[in-house]
Subunit: 353 residues, 2 copies
């Protein structure tokens, strides 16, 4: 190992990671649905290879920059699940990628589709129409999918179907209903695409919370990301067993100020995410009742509810709320397996463009 871990750093439990990857791959295979994991969660070539080895059909990314990182490392089937705006620079980068790999882009407006087609139509670029299934982020109304597809086809794109992200599954008691919304939205989108003359061969969905409830009779593809690690959000949503969480931030106890545990794992290591349903800024695996109650850039303050405090100078693990943003802050993940440690680069860290 060329890089030594120094707190705060991110540890990956390889046994748990492999278990999580295998279990979801087996479920997808048993349901007869393709798995195309979102690699924005880990941004790590080694983990994406484990996912492909377990049967994933390709990968999902969020940006052209992430696509570049993975295509250059040999990944040959990439879906950019984002309504890209292709200015000249971004279009040129995408053209280079389409020469090396099968690249599919997201579109969610006639304007965006026309611009993408203008740049890429002559290059056989594939596209999926994004529809909004209830998260109300990007994506058109499902019944308008045909309009976007029509603009895309006219501009020369190869429209393969539709996708959605049921991100409103990130709420207590919404896991099943979000999956139902996803199914309804993709049903309507498929019908709308057919009116535009596009027979959808891909209907893609999936978020980690809604995964086990996804309608695999309808969906052809699932794109979960967080399932490889789990995090405190999934723990609090009840969608991961804490014993299966495969990533934690190793932190040093630097103070007992105020009778609480002060750790060196601040928001620049854990990320500052705190969803409305979250009970704190992170969780401690060894202390299920503890919460990170105060988080600043370089301090995490944990209330252990009266339990004995680990001594100053000792190290503890913290599970970040949102693992994707924690990983994006690190240069390396330290993968541990039976006493061995590997420093895996976060190869696509910061590739936001």
């Amino acid at each position: 190992m060329l890089v030594e871990p120094r707190t705060p750093y991110l540890r990956v439990d390889l046994t748990r990671l492999r278990h999580n990857i295998r279990r979801t791959a087996e479920r997808a295979a048993a349901a007869g649905v393709a798995l195309r994991p979102h690699v924005k969660t880990h941004k790590c070539l080694e983990i994406a290879r484990l996912q492909l080895d377990a049967g994933a059909v390709g990968i999902t990314v969020a940006t052209v920059g992430e696509a570049e990182t993975f295509v250059r490392a040999g990944f040959d089937d990439v879906f950019i699940a984002f309504p890209l705006w292709l200015d000249d620079l971004r279009a040129g980068r995408l053209r280079d990628l389409t020469a090396e790999a099968t690249v599919t882009i997201g579109i969610d407006s006639p304007a965006g589709a026309a611009e993408a087609g203008r740049h890429l139509g002559a290059h056989g670029a594939r596209a999926l129409v994004e529809v909004d299934s209830g998260h109300h982020r990007s994506g058109v109304e499902p019944r308008e999918a045909g309009q976007v597809a029509d603009a895309a086809v006219r501009a020369g794109l190869d429209v393969r179907g539709a996708f959605t992200f049921p991100g409103h599954s990130y709420a207590p008691d919404a896991l099943v209903s979000a999956a139902e919304d996803e199914s309804r939205a993709l049903t309507v989108a498929a019908a709308s695409l057919r009116t535009a003359g596009v027979e959808p061969e891909v209907l893609s969905g999936g978020s980690t919370p809604s995964l086990v409830s996804a309608d695999t009779e309808l969906l052809t593809e699932l794109r979960p990301g967080v399932y490889v690690f789990g995090d405190a959000q999934q723990w609090e949503l009840g969608t991961v067993d804490p014993e299966d969480i495969a990533l934690a931030c190793r932190a040093t106890v630097v103070s007992h100020a105020g009778g609480r545990l002060v750790l060196d794992s601040g928001s620049k290591a854990l990320g500052a995410d705190r969803a409305a349903y979250a009970t704190g800024f992170g969780r401690l695996p060894g202390h299920p009742d503890a919460r990170i109650v105060l988080l600043s850039e370089h301090h995490a303050v944990a209330d252990l509810g009266g339990a004995d405090l680990p001594p100053i100078g000792s190290q503890v693990d913290v599970v970040p709320n949102h693992v994707c943003n924690a990983v994006n802050l690190a240069e390396h993940l330290f993968a541990e397996d039976a006493g061995d440690v590997w420093a895996w680069p976060v190869a696509a860290r910061g590739q936001n463009s």
Copy 2:
């Protein structure tokens, strides 16, 4: 410029930056108090040099890694405002730094002070005792400052005084009261230090919100960070004029889904901070009534309250809630001045250890 900006990227308005640096330096000079800016906000050598040129006595950092970045670039007076735990590795790095620069560390427990002294006592290392003035993060009770100082002196450290961070100033209507708490805490801490035989020559405080209310009769030093840029938190606290905010994230409009503005500046560009008092996940300078109402890793959704939406493909600026965490996500800041653009490296990005 060797690096081309691509959205989402961070722009710095150099005129505003220089104005903010100069104004705070002039206020400190007029009050006869030393200014030691916290460079964790910008992590950028060029900006720290502007601060020294304007009269700062040295810099404040949060980690040994940040100190290394700045000392290696020639900065020779650095305060690490954090209760460091000095294991062998970190102590060795600190010893190397003390050979090149005047380095002062924070201590807030007899145990931490003893360990620091064991490693550094023979090297003339300086220390300030951290006291809690009401933020309840790290720092001992002010009346216990003498106990920590006593342990430190016995271990061979050169204790120069006390410091506090009145971070509870980050709340509406707390700006003045937090400064009053700061003054009280440092008064008590000074008396406690004297009982331990330490005459405090440094009483250091300061946060950006409480800055103009700081007790400069008592305090010898101020350590604000955010004042160089301002951000949406300061805007909402009323501690910066929006016309003085010197950093924004330039974003591309990628969709009008749901009649809202969907931008490519997600939490991996802006940071995910949302304080309890924040009205959204970021603000738009050109649209004071607008709010980022939904933020995910690569999407920011802005509600413009019925105003005309800038077209898909156009670019807009977003002011991040917490500029320190936004900067830490970027490789470069793009500094703009009268049509020229410089790519300034975020030299200490990710130096959390």
